[in-house]
C-alpha cells in the first residue's frame, strides 16, 4: 500500500528567497511527483519597458533582478544596438566584459553561500557572503553602486574605469582569489559534502539538451554551451579563457562548474584590465530606426535573451525577455523525482533559480473574444470577498 502526501515548498519557505511554489508529492521521504507554480511576483516589466524611452528601458530591465543587474542591461543594449547598427568603441566593450565577469563572480559566490545554507552548513553561507564583499567593493569603485550598476548605455558605457582604480581592483581580486582557494578546498575536499551532493539530482546530457537547459546547469551535464563563446560579444573574443564543463550532471558537478568558472572570470578580468585600449567609451547614438534586434548574453545562470522591436519612435514597440531560469527550472521533473525530500531542496537550489527574472503570465486567447473586462474583474473580486465574509461569520 502506498501513502502519498504533499509537501509544499513555498509560496513562502525558508528555502526560497522569493515567492514560488513547489508541490512535492511524496511517499515517505521519496518524491514521486513535482509541480512548479510561479507568477507570485509578476511585475509586467516587458509592458513597463514598452512605455519607456530606449534609455529608460535599460534602467527598467536593470531592476528585473538584483543579482543579474548587469546582464539584463547588456542584453537590452545589444538588442537596441543591433537595430541602430552602431559600432561600439573598443574600450566600452572591455568595460562591459569586466562588469559582466564581476557580476558572475558575486553571483556564483552568493549561490555558493546559499547552497551551504540550504544544506544546514551556515558557516559556508556566512563565509561565502563575506568573501563576496571585495567584488561588491570593486563594483562600487567602478560603477558607483554595489548593485544595480546603471553603467550600460546604448552605444557604450556611462562611466570609465579610471587608471588609478586599476591597482585597487587587482589587489582586491588577489584578496578574493585567496579566499576562493580556501573556500574551494573547504567545499570540494569535504567528504560529508561529497556524500550529500555526489550522485544527487542527475541531469543526463540528453535530457539537458531535451529540456534546453542553459548555463552552468547544462555545462555540469557535459553540454558545451556558452553564449560568451558561441555568440561572441563585448570583449570575450579578445581574451583567452575556457568553458568549464563537467560530465556527471549532479549537484556536485554544478558546484564544481561554478567554482571553476569563478577562476575563469578572475582570469578574464585581469586580461581585460591589461589589454584595455585607451579611447572613447560612448558611440553617442542619436536615434533608433525601425527594426528588430536581439541581445544574447551569458548571464551567471545561463543565456539571457532580449528581443526588441522598434517602430522608429523613441520607445520599444515590443520587448521580450527570456531569463535563463525559465529554461532551467523545467529540468526539476527530471532531477527531483525519485530523490528524497532532503535532496529535493538542494536540487531545486542547484540551478540557482532566479524567479523575479522568470515571472510571467499567460494570456488566454479565446478567439479574440475578451474573457473579462475591467468591471467583470471587480465583480469577481467583490463576489470572492462576500464569500470569505460569509465563511468568517459561519466560523
Amino acid at each position: 500500500m502506498s501513502h502519498k502526501a504533499t509537501i509544499p515548498i513555498g509560496p513562502y519557505h525558508p528555502l526560497q528567497e522569493e515567492p514560488e511554489f513547489y508541490k512535492l508529492v511524496v511517499e515517505g521521504e521519496r518524491v514521486v511527483d513535482v509541480d512548479v507554480r510561479i507568477g507570485y511576483n509578476h511585475r509586467g516589466i516587458e509592458k513597463i519597458s514598452e512605455g519607456k524611452s530606449f534609455d529608460q528601458a535599460i534602467f527598467a530591465v536593470e531592476r528585473i533582478c538584483g543579482i543579474c543587474s548587469g546582464s539584463h542591461p547588456i542584453a537590452c543594449v545589444q538588442a537596441i544596438e543591433e537595430i541602430a547598427k552602431v559600432e561600439i568603441p573598443e574600450r566600452a566593450l572591455f568595460i562591459r566584459s569586466i562588469i559582466q565577469e564581476l557580476e558572475r563572480l558575486h553571483s556564483h559566490m552568493l549561490w555558493l553561500g546559499l547552497a551551504g545554507h540550504f544544506l544546514g552548513y551556515n558557516t559556508i553561507f556566512m563565509w561565502g557572503w563575506k568573501y563576496r564583499e571585495p567584488i561588491c567593493d570593486i563594483m562600487e569603485t567602478v560603477t558607483g553602486n554595489r548593485q544595480n550598476y546603471g553603467i550600460m548605455k546604448v552605444g557604450g558605457v556611462r562611466r570609465d574605469i579610471e587608471k588609478e582604480h586599476v591597482p585597487y581592483i587587482l589587489s582586491r581580486l588577489d584578496e578574493f582569489t585567496k579566499q576562493l582557494d580556501m573556500l574551494k578546498g573547504a567545499i570540494l575536499d569535504d567528504p560529508v559534502l561529497h556524500a550529500r551532493l555526489k550522485g544527487v539530482g542527475i541531469l543526463t546530457k540528453e535530457k539537458a539538451i531535451d529540456y534546453a537547459a542553459l548555463g552552468p546547469t547544462a555545462r555540469a551535464s557535459g553540454v558545451d554551451i556558452d553564449a560568451r563563446r558561441d555568440y561572441p560579444y563585448a570583449a570575450y573574443p579578445r581574451v583567452k579563457w575556457n568553458v568549464i564543463t563537467q560530465k556527471e550532471g549532479d549537484v556536485f558537478a554544478k558546484t564544481v562548474v561554478r567554482i571553476l568558472e569563478m577562476y575563469e572570470s578572475v582570469n578574464i578580468i585581469r586580461q581585460c584590465l591589461d589589454k584595455m585600449p585607451q579611447g572613447p567609451i560612448d558611440a553617442k547614438v542619436k536615434d533608433v530606426p525601425p527594426g528588430e534586434g536581439i541581445g544574447q548574453i551569458e548571464a551567471p545562470r545561463g543565456e539571457c535573451f532580449h528581443y526588441i522591436k522598434s517602430d522608429g519612435t523613441n520607445s520599444p514597440m515590443r520587448h521580450k525577455i527570456r531569463a535563463p531560469t525559465f529554461m532551467n527550472f523545467a529540468t526539476f521533473r527530471e532531477t527531483v523525482i525519485g530523490e528524497t525530500v532532503s535532496d529535493a531542496t538542494i536540487i531545486l537550489a542547484a540551478i540557482d533559480p532566479c524567479y523575479c527574472c522568470t515571472e510571467r503570465m499567460v494570456v488566454v486567447n479565446s478567439k479574440d473574444r475578451e474573457l473579462y473586462k475591467g468591471p467583470d474583474l471587480i465583480k469577481l473580486s467583490q463576489e470572492k470577498t462576500r464569500l470569505i465574509k460569509e465563511k468568517m461569520q459561519r466560523l
Binding site: 540550504f118 552548513y121 551556515n122 559556508i124 563565509w127
Partner: protein, 312 residues
C-alpha cells in the same frame, strides 16, 4: 527531607530553574562562538532569555483546528518533565554520591529518551505533513543513535566495577582515576560525543527540524508557551547532557577548587567539540545518519566495550 525540600530540589536548585538558566547560557555560548566563527558579532548574553520570555509572555499559543488539545499541549510538558528529572538526578547525585539507588543510571538513560519522544509525538499529533515528516525523522534518528549511546555508556559501567549506580561510579573514579584516562574510555567518549550531537539536534544531525527543508519539522505548529517549553527543554538538555558525560567519563563534579576548575575546562572542551562539529559540517540525510550510527559508530562502541572488558 520534607515534600518542600524535594520540590525545591526539583524546581529551583539544581532542578528546573538552575538547569534552565545554565542551559540558556550554554545556548548563548554556542550562538556567540558560532557567530565569531562566521565573522559575525553575535547576540548579547541575555538574548536567549529574551527569546524565551517573548514566547512565554508576548506570543499567543495557537492550537491547530482538529488536533487533540491534551496531547498537543501535553507533549511539551512531558518533555520538560523528563529534562527536569534528569537534571535533578544527575546534579543531586553529583553533589552527594551517597544518594541515588541501584540502577539509577538506567533510569537516567530512559529519562533522556523522554524529551525526543515528546518532540516526536508532538509532531505526530499536530497533523501537519511537514511535522509528521520531521517526527518520523526524529524517530529514525533516535533509533539509530540510541544503540551506540547505550554501548558507550557500558564502558564506564565496566570500568567502575560493573556498577549501575551513578554515585558508586563517581566514587570508583575518585579512587581509580577517570574512565577517560583509558583507551576504551577515549573511544567511548567520542562515540558518545557523536550521539549527543544527534540527541541535541545539532548539525549534522538536525534533520528532524531541518529549517530549509521542512521548516522546523515537529515544531512547525507549536507557538507561544508550548514552543517556549520545547526550547527550554532543549536548552536544559544542552547543559545536562555534557554534565552527564563529565560524570561518566571524568568522575563527576568535584567539590574542591582545582577540581571544579578542571570540570569547567572539561565542560568547555565538550562544548567546543560540539560547536566545531556543528559549524564544519552540512546536514546529512537521514539514511546516511542511520548508516553512520549503525555501522562505524556502533562498531567503534563495540570495540570500546571489548577493550574495557579486557581492562584496557
Amino acid at each position: 527531607m520534607n515534600i518542600f525540600g524535594y520540590l525545591g530540589l526539583l524546581l529551583i536548585f539544581p532542578g528546573f530553574l538552575f538547569t534552565a538558566f545554565m542551559g540558556l547560557m550554554v545556548g548563548w555560548v554556542d550562538r556567540k562562538v558560532t557567530a565569531r566563527i562566521q565573522y559575525r558579532v553575535g547576540p548579547p548574553w541575555y538574548q536567549n532569555f529574551f527569546d524565551i520570555a517573548k514566547l512565554f509572555f508576548i506570543k499567543e499559543t495557537l492550537i491547530p483546528a482538529g488536533v487533540s488539545r491534551a496531547l498537543f499541549l501535553g507533549m511539551p510538558a512531558l518533555g520538560l518533565a523528563g529534562a527536569t528529572l534528569v537534571s535533578t538526578m544527575v546534579l543531586v547525585i553529583n553533589a552527594s554520591p551517597k544518594t541515588g539507588f541501584i540502577g539509577d543510571l538506567i533510569v537516567i538513560a530512559y529519562l533522556l529518551l523522554i524529551p525526543p519522544i515528546a518532540v516526536m509525538l508532538g509532531g505526530f499529533v499536530s497533523e501537519n505533513s511537514l511535522a509528521s515528516l520531521g517526527a518520523s525523522r526524529e524517530m529514525k534518528l533516535m533509533m539509530s543513535y540510541e544503540l551506540p549511546f547505550i554501548l558507550a555508556m557500558t564502558v564506564p559501567i565496566i570500568k567502575c566495577g560493573y556498577s549501575i549506580k551513578l554515585g558508586e561510579m563517581i566514587s570508583a573514579q575518585y579512587v581509580n582515576g577517570p574512565v577517560f584516562a583509558s583507551a576504551s574510555g577515549v573511544i567511548a567518549f567520542f562515540v558518545m560525543m557523536l550521539c549527543i550531537q544527534a540527541k541535541l539536534g545539532f548539525v549534522p544531525f538536525d534533520m528532524p527540524e531541518a529549517e530549509t527543508e521542512i521548516m522546523a519539522g515537529p515544531y512547525i505548529e507549536y507557538s507561544g508557551k508550548a514552543l517556549g517549553i520545547f526550547k527550554l527543554q532543549k536548552a536544559m538538555l544542552g547543559f545536562i547532557i555534557p554534565v552527564f558525560m563529565i560524570t561518566l567519563f571524568f568522575g563527576g563534579i568535584k567539590d574542591d577548587f582545582s577540581g571544579f576548575m578542571k570540570n569547567i575546562a572539561e565542560f568547555a572542551g565538550i562544548l567546543v567539540i560540539m560547536i566545531v562539529i556543528k559549524n564544519t559540517n552540512p546536514r546529512v540525510r537521514i539514511d546516511q545518519a542511520m548508516g553512520f550510527f549503525w555501522k562505524p559508530v556502533t562498531a567503534a562502541a563495540v570495540i570500546a566495550v571489548a577493550l574495557a572488558y579486557f581492562g584496557k
